[in-house]
Symmetry: C2
C-alpha cells in the first residue's frame, strides 16, 4: 500500500473532495461505469484513510477569478489516501502520474500540496538508489570527521576553459575538497565540456600526484538527450574525474534513470526549477516527498540551500530538507549527502550544526565566502574549517577567532551579512 | 538571441528585480566578481530589453508568512530579457535551467510567471520535432476532412487484458478512429503491457483486414527508465501498433528525447502534472512556453483538455493552448495535433470549432460521451460525427438533431451538462 498525504483546500466539502481525489486517481471518472465492479475496486481503488481537519484559510491559494470570484475563507484538511500497490506498481513514473500528477488538475479544489509519501516494502531494492552517497563521497574525498568543504567556479557563465582552469588551480591550491561548475554551465560553445575537462583534470591529477589529495570536481554534464549526457559522462570519467552536476529537473526521471544505470561518477544533484513546485505553501509538494523520487533514482549529493541563503527559502525549510535527505527511506544507504550552499561562508556553521542534529556529514559549499576572503581563497578555506571546528566544540565564533586569524578576517569581511 | 518574457511581481522595485533576474541567470551572483569583465558580459550576459508595467495586484501571489507578513499590494510588470545564444546554446536542458528554472528561486519576488519564449533561428533543425504530427496522424488513421474521433478505455485502472480487449472490440465495432489507454495505465501487474498488446492488437489488425480501417490504439508505454520504455515501445511496434501515450512530465526531457530518437510510433502526450506549473495565474508558466519544449522534443499529439472540461481549466485557457500547439515555432511541421478531451460528447463541437479558427485538424476525444450513449458506443460515435457536421456547417445542434437521431439521443442524455 502506498500512502500519500495531501493538504487540500476547498470552498466546498472536504470529505467529498477527498473521495473525489481517491476515485479520480484510480478507478473512477465523473460518471458511473459499468466496468467499475466491486471486485475491481477492491483490487485497485484508492481509498481515503483519514481526514484531519485544519483551521480555515482566509483565502484560497489559487485566487478565484472572473466576475463571480469570492476569495473568501476556505476549508482545509490533511488527507491520507492509500493506493494499493497493484494499482501503481513500483515504476516511479507511474507513481508520479497516479499519486501526484493527476491530483493537480482536479476541479473544486483551491489548493493542494502533497506533504507526505510512505512507500511500501515492495519498493525496497526496486530502484538503484545512490551509488556513492555519504560513504562514497567521504571515501573519494578522503575527508573524515568534518564537513567536506567545497566551492563553485564563478562567474557562473562566460569563462573560457583556460580562464576556468586558472581559477581552479588557485582553488586547488587553497585546499578545498570539492569544486563544481555552476549549475548553469554545461557545454556551451565558449566552454565545451570536452575542453573544460581537458583543461581542468590535469590540474586535479597533478595535485593528487604531488599531495595524495584528489579534489572532487563536479562537471556540468546535463543534457536533454541521454545519449549526449552519457558522452559527457564518459568525457569526465575517461579523464579521471569522479563527479558530475546534474540538473535533475531539466533532465527528468528518464535522464536520471538512464545515467544512473551507466554512471561511474558521483551524481551531485542541483534542483534548479524545484522552487516553483514548493514556494507557494498551499500548492505543489513538500521537499520531503519529491526528494524520495530522486534518491531512489540515484542522487548521491543533494543541494538544499543553507542557513541564511541568498534565495527565497527560509531557514526552517532548509533544516527540514536536511532532515529529509538524511532520513532513510529503507536503509541508511539510500540517504544522499546533504549539500548546504548559497551565501555560505562559515558564519552559518554553528547554526547549521546545531539545527541539523549535530552532524558533520555534509558538503558545505561556499562560493564568495571562500574566494572573496580578504587574504585569498587559501585563507578562505581555512576560515571555513575553523568555523566548523568552533561549531563542533560549541565555542562561539568570535572566541575561536581570537586564536584563528583567518576566521577573524572572515568575520570582519562577511560578519555584517555580506556572505557568499 | 533567446528572449523570454516574465510577468514579475514584487513589493520592491520592478527595475531592480528585472536587472537581478538578468544578472543572476547569467554572469552575476550577489557580489561583484573579479572575473566578470566587460568582455565576458558582452558575450554571455543576459539583459533587460523592455519593462511594461502592469497594474498593481492587491496581494502577493506567494503569501508572505511569519510575524512581519504584510500581504499588501505588489507591483507587477511584464519584462523581456534577452539571453545571448552563446550563453545557453540549443540544448533544451540548458535552456530550461538558465532561462526558466533558476528564476523561480530568486528572493524578493512575490510572483513570477514565464509568459513567452522566442527562440532564435539557430534552434531551427536543432531538435527532432514531431515525427508524425498532424499529417502523419491523418495518414495513419485515414481520416480526412473531419476531426479524428477517439475514445478512452475506462475504468482507468483495474481491468485485466481480456476485459480491456472486450471493451476495445466494442469500440472498434462502433467506428472510432482512435482508442487510448487512460494515462494512468502503464504496465501494472494485473495488466502487463505485453499481455494488453497481445489481447488488443489482433482485434485492431483483424478489423483492418476486414474493413481496411486501422484504428489507432495508443498504449501506455511510459516508464521512468528509458530502457524499459523502449522495451514497451518495441512490444507495441512489433505487434503492429502505431501509437503510444507518454506521460511527458513523469518521464522528463531525457525520457522523451531518448524515445523520440528511436521511436516508430506516434507519440501522444499526456501532460499529467502540468497543472501545478500553471494553475496559479501569478506563478509558473504559460502553456505557450512549456509546450515549445515538448514539441521540439517530438510530441505528435498533445492533450490540452477541451471546452467545458471536467478539470479546473477554463475554456479560454484551452483555446489558447489549441492556438499554441498549432502555431509553428519554425515551420508547420513542428506543430502537434491538438487533442481536445475531458468531458467531451459532441455538444462542445460548435464552440470548439468556432473558437479554434474553424479547423477540423484535431483529435476529439470522448470517453463517456461515446460509451455512455443511450444506444451504445456505435450510436455515440455517429452522434459525435454528426455534431461536427453540424458545427462545420454552422447549423445549430438542435436543428441538425431533427434529422439525426443519434445526435438527438445524445443531446437528451448529455445536453443537461452530464458529459463525458
Amino acid at each position: 500500500m502506498i500512502v500519500l498525504t495531501y493538504c487540500i483546500e476547498t470552498p466546498g466539502n472536504i470529505e467529498a473532495l477527498a473521495a473525489k481525489i481517491a476515485s479520480d486517481q484510480s478507478t473512477g471518472t465523473f460518471v458511473a461505469l459499468a466496468g467499475e465492479t466491486e471486485e475491481l475496486k477492491a483490487r485497485v481503488a484508492a481509498r481515503v484513510l483519514a481526514i484531519r481537519h485544519l483551521p480555515d484559510a482566509d483565502r484560497p491559494s489559487v485566487p478565484e477569478t472572473g466576475p463571480e470570484a469570492r476569495n473568501g475563507p476556505v476549508k482545509r484538511a490533511d488527507v491520507d489516501i492509500a493506493f494499493p500497490l497493484d494499482a501503481i506498481g513500483t515504476d516511479l513514473s507511474a507513481l508520479m502520474t497516479i499519486a501526484i500528477g493527476g491530483t493537480f488538475s482536479i476541479k473544486g479544489l483551491s489548493g493542494i500540496r502533497v506533504v507526505d509519501m510512505r512507500l511500501p516494502e515492495e519498493y525496497r531494492g526496486a530502484h538503484p538508489g545512490p551509488q556513492f552517497g555519504v560513504t562514497g563521497s567521504r571515501r573519494l574525498t578522503a575527508v573524515a570527521d568534518r564537513p567536506i568543504i567545497g566551492t563553485i567556479v564563478k562567474p557562473a557563465l562566460g569563462l573560457r576553459p583556460p580562464e576556468t582552469a586558472a581559477m581552479v588551480q588557485e582553488l586547488i591550491a587553497a585546499g578545498v575538497d570539492f569544486i563544481k561548475d555552476d549549475e548553469k554551465l554545461m557545454s556551451p560553445a565558449y566552454s565545451p565540456l570536452s575542453e573544460r575537462v581537458r583543461a581542468i583534470m590535469p590540474l586535479i591529477l597533478d595535485h593528487e600526484q604531488k599531495t595524495g589529495k584528489k579534489v572532487m570536481y563536479a562537471f556540468g554534464i546535463s543534457h536533454a538527450d541521454p545519449d549526449e549526457m552519457m558522452r559527457n559522462h564518459d568525457l569526465v570519467a575517461n579523464a579521471g574525474g569522479n563527479c558530475a552536476v546534474v540538473n535533475i529537473n531539466s533532465i527528468g526521471f528518464g535522464g536520471m534513470a538512464y545515467l544512473r544505470k551507466r554512471s561511474s561518477l558521483v551524481l551531485h544533484a542541483h534542483r534548479n526549477g524545484w522552487d516553483i513546485l514548493t514556494r507557494h505553501p498551499g500548492l505543489g509538494m513538500d521537499f520531503k516527498v519529491w526528494q524520495q523520487f530522486w534518491r531512489l533514482l540515484g542522487v548521491d549529493q543533494f543541494q538544499i540551500n543553507g542557513i541564511a541563503s541568498k534565495y527565497w527559502e527560509p531557514d526552517w525549510s532548509f533544516v527540514e530538507s536536511f532532515k529529509a535527505v538524511t532520513t532513510p527511506i529503507f536503509s541508511p544507504a539510500d540517504c544522499a549527502l546533504p549539500v548546504a550552499g548559497s551565501g555560505q561562508w562559515g558564519g552559518q556553521a554553528p547554526e547549521t550544526f546545531r539545527r541539523t542534529g549535530r552532524t558533520v556529514d555534509l558538503l558545505y559549499l561556499c562560493g564568495g565566502g571562500i574566494v572573496s576572503h580578504p587574504d585569498g581563497p587559501g585563507a578562505g578555506v581555512r576560515a571555513v574549517q575553523q568555523a566548523w571546528q568552533a561549531a563542533v566544540q560549541d565555542i562561539p565564533l568570535a572566541d575561536y577567532a581570537l586564536s584563528h586569524v583567518e576566521l577573524a578576517r572572515s568575520i570582519e569581511k562577511f560578519g555584517g551579512g555580506e556572505a557568499a
